[in-house]
Amino acid sequence: MDDGGREVARARHCCNEIIITGAAMNSMTPKLVVEGLTHYYPDEYTGESVHALEDINLELYEGELVSVVGPSGCGKSTLLNILAGLLPYKIGTASVDGNVIHGPGPDRGVVFQEHAILPWRTVAKNIGHGLEIRRVPQAEREKRVQEFIDLVGLTGFEDKFPHELSGGMKQRCQVARTLCSDPVVMLMDEPFAAVDAQTRITLQEELNRIAMATHKTILFITHSVEEAAFLADRCLVFSARPGRLKEIVKIDIPREQRNWTNMNDNAIFISARDRILASVREEVSIAVEE
């Protein structure tokens, strides 16, 4: 709040009011709602349980890209897995478009950190997989698939198998696969963590362009503060484990202005990035002390 000023919203411990501010700005109903979500992992061997998430509340509005950062082990992947329906939860609620999450479903598309496209399917068949599962007629499927292949810049690689692609291309293919299924929300768990720095920058700019073109609602988990600040409309900072929503930083930069040639001179970007960084470092030092 100090010098970064107006652009940076900040809250401690309780984040509800900030979320309300977000809601007031955006008078639509949220696409994704999480209320009082708490999660413990039971440990079969010791009987003790790991407290991974504590009272998470958040709302995602249509077309919004929200990033989540926090120290390693703070429960970011746990949150994403619960939202994806891959991890059952007991305390709190999570819903998409008003439907409570009970298991995986095509309304939530996931981009995994690892290479998750199927090695035995060609690029085109991977991207069209979601439509194939939903039995979309072939002609329509092929048209849609081609659209997304072009969007992520994989034109010419339609009939290649994943092992013939570079790491960055595999992640592009995964992003295209998720987009092609047209989910209500897209959940991304450190999708660019495994690619080299140069490719990563390109992929970030591409995702920004895709977010602009498709108006997808995206929850984007990352380790990189720069990445979070570059991509997000709002950035959620998690505390050390058990993960709590510590702070929400708003980054009000139009998508058209977001590219790496300008961003490093952008005052809003710099102040948001520094704010997030300071906040995360505080938590990392807590995590290390423990």
Partner: protein, 287 residues
């Protein structure tokens, strides 16, 4: 003269490709050496023909055994007069039958057990038990149960094929990265989609290894079963011919067995491997 040879070699290279030609030549050398030694044995009379027959005798044995064959119908009906074809086709028939029944069953149960902890707790011990007794150790019991003939030989072969296939498919499914399953589920895929699109192709390297192993061991078990518990087939032929000191027929049987097995591997299993796991980049390909 030299140009003619040169032209011929160029034509041959065009036809097969340099790499393939190299492979064929390298692969044939050991066989050529073996045949040369075999023939040398006859020429220089190292070991008497009762132990190692001349190549010519083995060749003639084909026609001798087939001599009484009463035409095409008898041949197809596996009549005892058409000895060679009857034995060859009996063995091949059993292999095909056992493969058609045993491989899919083994794969299906293996995949199910790979997916379900409960089912695997149920079936795995039985599998370990069955595997601890090698296929041929069942022969005496099978003869008691089913008598001498088709059923016994089939049972032995099925028993060998099924469990090997079962274990390999199960391990294959367990080795498939969880994220593939999760990604299909998050796209709205059903359990069945996961089986078809993740487990089956993901376990393919293991399944193909399993097929190779089970066909190899199964074929060996079949020959053994035919020797002791069969009334036809190449194993039976080898065994009875040896008892009558018809050494050239024994040799003929052995050669047929290896040719049939090599052909199965080369024309069925290897292409399957090439079209699946190699194309998908799931196995390391030697250069």
């Amino acid at each position: 003269m030299t140009t003619a040879v040169g032209n011929l070699s160029i034509a041959v290279q065009r036809r097969f490709g340099r790499q393939r030609l190299r492979k064929i030549i390298l692969g044939s050398i050991p066989f050529a050496v073996m045949i040369a030694i075999w023939h040398a044995n006859t020429v220089f009379d190292w070991l008497p023909p009762v132990f190692i027959p001349p190549i010519g005798d083995v060749w003639e044995a084909i026609f001798f055994l087939q001599e009484d064959c009463a035409g095409f119908v008898a041949l197809v009906m596996l009549d005892n007069s058409c000895l060679i074809t009857t034995h060859v086709f009996s063995s091949i028939g059993r292999v095909i039958l056992a493969a058609i029944v045993g491989l899919p069953l083994g794969i299906a149960f293996g995949i199910l057990c790979g997916m379900s902890r409960t089912l695997s707790k149920f079936l795995e011990p039985v599998g370990v038990f069955a595997n601890s007794i090698s296929g041929i150790a069942w022969i005496p019991l099978a003869i008691v149960w089913f008598g001498v003939g088709w059923v016994t030989t089939l049972f032995i072969m099925l028993n060998t094929i099924f469990w090997l296939m079962f274990f390999n498919s199960m391990l294959g499914v367990r080795s498939v990265a969880k994220v593939y399953e999760e990604s299909v589920l998050t796209m709205g895929g059903s359990r069945w989609d996961v089986i078809k699109q993740v487990y089956l192709p993901g376990a393919m390297p293991s399944i193909i290894t399993g097929m190779r192993m089970s066909m190899g061991f199964g074929w060996r078990a079949l020959i053994a079963a035919e020797m002791i518990g069969g009334d036809s087939g190449l194993g039976f032929m080898i065994f009875t011919s040896a008892a009558e000191f018809k050494i050239e027929e024994v040799f003929l049987g052995v050669i047929f067995i290896s040719i049939i097995f090599m052909a199965t591997d080369k024309y069925l299993l290897a292409p399957l491997e090439k079209w699946t796991v190699e194309r998908w980049g799931l196995v390391w390909r030697p250069t």
